[in-house]
């Protein structure tokens, strides 16, 4: 057996998860539709005044993105857990953190990235300006991977438990608050004309921190859950 490099392992895992996700396209589409519906419900709930909607838009889109990413967390490890793949992964000689990172990245590509692509259309629904839509996309690009990573820890901790879905939300949502604040704050900064870069760099800092720690913590949580 030839030894795989870490990058090779990473790309193999990502490709595998992407192929699996494409086999069950309905799951991806469901998350996306959920996101669109939640965002579209807000104007119906609070009224159609364009000024108010414009101010609300960043918060609404971010909260909806947060909820949508919670929705798909349950699938992150459960399928592999059920068919025994996960146990095999624990035995792989390479670091489990790398495998976990690959799974998180693949998960983000099928559940986070579509949200980012969909967001501008929803922004138009809320009468946002082109500039603030641009910032919204950058903020979502920086923020949604962090959400996936924090969520992965919760998913690993609750693996195979009854009532897992609601429990994951209870554990993960409080930890996601900083991302939500800076993500929505960046777009609001554009609207109010203050500096955007500080928000974005803080989002970037959160992303780097999550990138450094969460794969390792998730791997630890997986070992605890699987023993």
């Amino acid at each position: 057996m030839n030894k795989l490099s870490l990058i090779g392992l990473l790309s193999i895992m990502i490709r595998r998860d992407l192929v699996l996700a494409m086999r069950r396209r309905a799951d991806v589409v469901t998350t996306l539709i959920f996101f669109v519906i939640v965002v579209s419900l807000f104007p119906l709930g609070v009224g159609p005044e364009a000024d108010m909607l414009r101010n609300m838009a960043p918060g609404v889109i971010w909260v909806a993105a947060l909820l949508a990413s919670m929705l798909s967390l349950g699938r992150l490890f459960s399928a592999d857990h059920l068919d025994g793949t996960l146990e095999q992964m624990l035995l792989v000689p390479q670091s489990l953190s790398v495998l976990v990172l690959a799974k998180i990245l693949a998960h983000w590509m099928v559940s986070g990235l579509p949200l980012v692509i969909m967001a501008p259309v929803l922004g138009l629904q809320f009468d946002m300006t082109a500039q603030s839509i641009g910032v919204l996309i950058i903020a979502l690009l920086l923020g949604t991977p962090t959400l996936s990573m924090i969520g992965a820890v919760g998913a690993a901790l609750t693996l195979g438990l009854r009532g897992g879905g609601a429990l994951v939300s209870l554990l993960v949502l409080p930890l996601c608050i900083p991302v939500l604040i800076f993500g929505a704050g960046a777009v609001e900064a554009v609207i109010s004309g203050t500096s955007v870069s500080s928000h974005l760099s803080l989002l970037g800092a959160l992303l780097v921190m999550a990138l450094a720690f969460t794969p390792w913590v998730t791997a630890l949580a997986l070992r605890i859950s699987m023993e």
Partner: protein
């Protein structure tokens, strides 16, 4: 050890309540309503401190595999959650007459609320895992993760709040009367001792539940009878 802590907690409560209601003078600006401080401040500080202690015990349990420290962590969690709730409750009752609102989105209030959520998450995760060892270790990881996040959440909320130009919330009169200080310290000690007492009693039950198969349990006085 439990009766000792229980007795001293009771004595301190009586002394603290006496000082806070009869000795401490009426505040110039806040009139009598400031007396809520005597319960609000100790409860808030303890609710944060207990989280740190709990995370510390949980980390010890996770790293060194000591069962007692994990049990201690799970015994502290309900007390901490109740104190956090109490802190929010008394804060709201204090805020209404002073700031004119039950709730403001201030950094401290918001982080206290999130602290309550973290406690609830810890308890819920621990309760939903049947195997006690796995429950200990999984919730320990969560507690540590939470304690890392609390400062980040605090600063982000603070920052968010200044951006929104929210209600500026500051306590008036930093120079407190001596009797007020005494009352607060006594109450703080009382709540502290209460928390120790109640979690020691709770940890005794947890030990009995976990070790029900052990030899020494069946030789206990309470069970023999």
């Amino acid at each position: 050890m439990v009766p000792w802590f229980a007795c001293s907690a009771a004595i301190m409560f009586v002394a603290g309540l006496y000082i806070s209601f009869f000795v401490a003078p009426t505040d110039v600006q806040q009139s009598e309503a400031y007396r809520i401080m005597f319960i609000h401040v100790p409860v808030s500080i303890l609710s944060m401190f207990i989280y740190l202690v709990m995370a510390g015990y949980a980390a010890l349990g996770l790293i060194f595999n000591t069962r007692l420290s994990s049990m201690m962590a799970s015994a502290l969690a309900p007390t901490g959650a109740l104190l956090a709730f109490l802190s929010l409750w008394t804060g709201a009752l204090w805020g209404k007459p002073m700031w004119g609102a039950w709730w403001v989105w201030d950094a401290r209030l918001t982080s206290e609320l999130i602290l309550l959520f973290l406690y609830l998450g810890f308890i819920a995760l621990h309760a939903s895992i049947d195997d006690p060892r796995r429950a200990d270790r999984a919730s320990a990881l969560l507690a540590i993760l939470g304690s890392v996040n609390v400062p980040i959440i605090y600063f982000s909320v603070q920052w968010w709040n200044t951006l929104h130009q929210g209600a500026s919330v500051k306590l008036t009169g930093t120079s407190m009367h001596v009797a007020m200080q005494q009352g607060m310290y006594t109450m703080m000690l009382a709540v502290w001792l209460y928390a120790i007492t109640i979690s020691l009693i709770r940890v005794r039950s947890i030990i009995l539940e976990r070790e029900s198969k052990a030899q020494w349990v069946s030789e206990l006085m309470e069970i023999k009878r």
